[in-house]
Structures are given as C-alpha cells and as structure tokens.
Amino acid sequence: MAKIATREAYGEALAELGEEMKDIVVLDADLSKSTKTSVFAKKFPERFFNLGIAEQNLMGTAAGLATCGKIPFASTFAVFACGRAFEQIRNSICYPNLNVKIAATHAGITVGEDGATHQSIEDMALMRSLPNMTVISPVDAVETKKAVRAAAMLKGPVYLRLGRHPVETIFDDNYEFEVGKGVVLRDGKDVALIATGTMVGESLRAAEVLAKEGIDAMVVNIHTIKPIDEEAILKAAECGAVITAEEHSIIGGLGSAVAEVLIEKKPVLIKRIGIRDVFGMSGKPEELMKAYGITAEDIVNAAKSLLSID
C-alpha cells in the first residue's frame, strides 16, 4: 500500500467537502502549504483566510466566524494550535461551544528533523482537558477523510490530530468510521493493544509478532480520544492485560484516558507506550520512534513483560 500522510488526506477531504458544504471556511497561519489547506485555498480562494503567523488571532477569528453560522477549519502545526493558542481555544471556542474545527498537523515526534520545538507531544492532553471538545486522532488517509467529514457534520468544537510523515494506509474505503466508537482490528484474548494514530500500524505489526510466539493479542483502534469509547475499552480489558500505544506523551493522552476508564471500572494490568515525559529531537521519523521506544518491537516487549513471559 502506498504511504500517504494524514495531512495530505486532510487537504483533499477539505477541498471535496468545500464543494458540498458552502459554510465551510478555512483559516491558516502561514503554513497552508504544509498543513495542505492550500488545496482548499486554490479551489475556494474566497473562503480561505490566511491570518499570517498569528495563531491566537487565528483561533479568535474562527470563533467569530462560527458565531455567524460558518464552519471554520483552523489549521496550523499542533504545537502552535494547542500550545500558543490554548487559552483562545479554551475561552473563545470551547467555553461558548462554538462550531470550530481545529485541524492541526505535524503532531508527534514523526515531524522528524525540525526537532522538539515543532514536535507536539502534549496536544491531546491539552485538548482533552477542555469541556465541549471532541478529540480525534486518525490512523491513515482513509480514516482521516472520514474523520474530517464527521467533524464537519458534528456541531461543536473538534480537534483533529494529523501527521506530517507518510504512513501506511490500513483501511479501505468500506471502513466505517463513527466518532467515539473504537474499532477492533484484530481479536485476541491474551493482551489488548489499544492504540491511536500512527501507533495503530505498529500495534498490528506487534500483534503479528506476538502471534508467532503464541500470544494472542487484540488490537483496538481508539481514533476518538474524547469522548472515549468506554465500552470498547472495558471489552478489551477482558483480556486481563492492556497496552496503550500513542505517539504522544504518556501523560494525559490515550494512555491516561484508558487508565482513567479502567481504574474506575475494571482495574487490570496496564503498560503505556508513548513519549516518557521528555521532549523530542531532530532525526528521521523511524529513528526517532526507535529512540523514544514507540515501535512495534517496544509493544511486543511491553506485552511480554506484562504477561511475565520474559
């Protein structure tokens, strides 16, 4: 399968949706070529607004547009969207529950060579803490397209977490996507691998390796971090052991969200795969994933240690 970055799929999805939904307007902060909103801009120049390098105003303007019935998609890199403009998202968008879609690209360490300043590893934690916010972290190009459409249809603020680096396309067009509904990609009974975004592919690979060693791993794609699919997580926890995997800090993201559900309703053994409370660095995406311990191999090792096999 061809590798496509989720940001590429986002750009295409926006341009398609723009045709159907005339209320969609797109805002960017001087990164339209990187976030791929440029595809929409080319097709609908009158509905595209570049706000320049000014993320606070980007979010505030989107909020104002939403009060007048527009469906604004505001894009920039995840670090700047969620970090620089956090309080604008909080007070001007989430508190009044305005219909703004924040589609942030370049999430996680697979940004690569640009290094730590540009690698967002805390965006899900920040966005998840805001009332009214829906947080979606798609796996591949197919899921991204469906998620963009779902976000546009959903009333209220949505955070879409997108990546820079091309990733394998796992799903085909028949794949069914529903906000807030986890997807079991592989059944298993020994350990549940609950993953989001780029780590879903790694988890599927890990499950294959584990299978060869006689460990039957379940793989669940939690594309919606909030509202989290408690039912899917509780079902997965019936395995008795859970590994969470995300290209994000282990503080506040998927791992935390899953642990919150399980600690209250079904305590089981958990291991969290993610960035372990450190900043990223420059390097090739694949090398960085190894360096920060978020590859299929790391998931395999975590599973074995959780099941006390090593």
């Binding site: 607004f49 000014a54 606070q56 505030g60 104002g64 009060t67 007048c68 001007s92 009044p96």
Partner: protein
C-alpha cells in the same frame, strides 16, 4: 446633529444605566464598576441609537453585532440589554450569583443579546473580525462593533487582530477604545504604556477618530463617519473618565474591581440622580 430630545433621552438612559451598575455591583458584592461607568455612554449610543437589533430576536442573522472585549464591564452591558428588553430588569439583581444568567463576564450561551463570550482580555477583536468577515462573505450589510479597554491594548493578540482587520479591509467593523487611562495596577502609562494609541492604529492601517467618550454628539458623529469609511476599519478612541458620574470613583484606580458597600452605593446613586 442630535435633536435636543434625543440627546436628553440618551443622557437620561445613561444615568439609568449607571444607577443599575452601582446597584448591581453593590448587591453582587463584587464586580467592576469603574470601567463599566467609563464605557456607559458608548454602549447607550450604540444600543439606544445606532445598532440594528431586535431584542425579541437576539439571534437575528442580519442584526448588528457587539463584542464587549473588555468583558469585565459586563454590568454596563447587562444593564443596557435589560433596559433594551432582552430580559427582565429584575435579573440584574442576580449578577454573579450561583445559577444566574448574568455571569461575572459575558457568556453568549447564558445571556440573550450577548453576541460573544468574553472576559479574557485581548480576544474580542479577533472574534469581531470573524463576524465582519462572515458578513462580507454572505453579502450582509450588518455592522460589527467591538469595545476594547486601553489597558487591554497591552495584549499582543489585539495587534494580530488589528493587522488582520486592515489586511482584510473590514470597513464593516468599528472598534472603540475606552481610553480611561487606568488599569488594575495603576495608570496605563506607568504599568505598560500602550500610547500613542491613535498613532499605533494609524500605523496598522486603520481610520482613527479621537473623541470625548462622554459626549453623545461626538460618539454618534464618529459612528456615522465610520459607516462612511470604505476599505478600512475604524477605531474610535474614546477619551473617558474611569468611574464617570460617581465623584468618589472618578479617576480612582481602586474602583476598577471593587464593589461599593450599600452605604457607598446610596451616596453614588444620590450623585448620579443629581
């Protein structure tokens, strides 16, 4: 030119609003009377003379919009909305109380007539820009008004938004700066001077009008002038007195965020009613 009876009507309304501000904050036991009193005349001119609004249909698509970027002046806005008929005047007594529709800072989801949730300084102009852009996209002729504090101009986001408003030629947008010269920690020129305000906006590509913010004739003339301006947004720098109308509050920085006691309120009301 305002007719004599129009002027008297606006002046009487302003007096009423100022009395509400005193009564509301006294009952609430907290709030921001100083900056509410300084912007009262601007709000009265907008709501009781200029703006195309319908209190029976607060979400009317073609209405003029108002964003109170200096959201702490909420008592002034609430009093104006109540007098305009958006909700019963009785509600004003519930300001800042648990369960009230009148939050400490404006909440568009709780209070009919509030067009944008504000309170965190620096964010209102961006929202107003978004409303103005939407108006242009939809070919609507509504106008967008936004009121900023002078201390608020210390927020960087204001200038991001100022740049964008001029860039997108938002001539359907009029901003007011309530230039009362004081902020919580003291005179704005001591804390962090945003001066010279007029020249800054001019440099950002705005049409600038300087007025006495307590003179209805000047306020209304400036609004009319802004309506005629094509191709650029207008800012009306309204020179005002913090605590205007209440002698012991006027130009006293301590009355930024402190409510009067019942006794002080009585004294204030006496002065206001003359």
């Amino acid at each position: 030119m305002l007719k004599k009876e129009e002027l008297v009507y606006l002046q009487e309304m302003a007096k009423k609003i100022r009395c509400h501000i005193i009564e509301m904050t006294a009952v609430a036991g907290s709030g921001h009377p100083g900056g509410s009193l300084s912007c009262t005349d601007i709000l009265v001119a907008l709501y009781f003379r200029e703006m195309r609004i319908d209190p029976h249909n607060p979400v009317w698509e073609d209405r003029d919009r108002f964003v109170l970027s200096k959201g702490h002046a909420a008592p002034a806005l609430y009093a104006v909305l109540a007098e305009k008929g958006y909700f019963p005047i009785e509600e004003l007594k519930t300001l800042r109380k648990t369960g009230s529709m009148l939050q400490g800072h404006p909440d568009m989801k709780k209070t009919p007539g509030v067009d944008m949730t504000t309170g965190s300084l620096g964010q209102g102009l961006s929202a107003a820009n978004g409303m103005a852009i939407a108006g242009k996209l939809d070919g609507k002729d509504y106008r967008v008004y936004v009121l900023l504090g002078d201390g608020e101009l210390e927020e960087g986001q204001v200038w991001e938004a100022a740049m964008a408003a001029a860039h997108y030629k938002l001539d359907n947008l009029t901003a007011f700066v309530d230039h009362n010269g004081l902020q919580i920690d003291g005179p704005i020129t001591d804390v962090m001077s945003p001066e010279i305000i007029e020249e800054k906006f001019k440099a950002f590509g705005w049409h600038v009008i300087d007025i006495n913010g307590h003179d209805f004739e000047e306020i209304i003339n400036a609004i009319e002038q802004a309506k005629k301006m094509k191709g650029k947004p207008t800012v009306i720098v309204a020179n005002t007195v913090k605590g205007k109308g209440v002698p012991y509050m006027e130009n006293e920085v301590d009355w930024h965020g402190k409510a009067p006691t019942q006794e002080q309120a009585q004294e204030a009301l006496k002065a206001l009613r003359g």
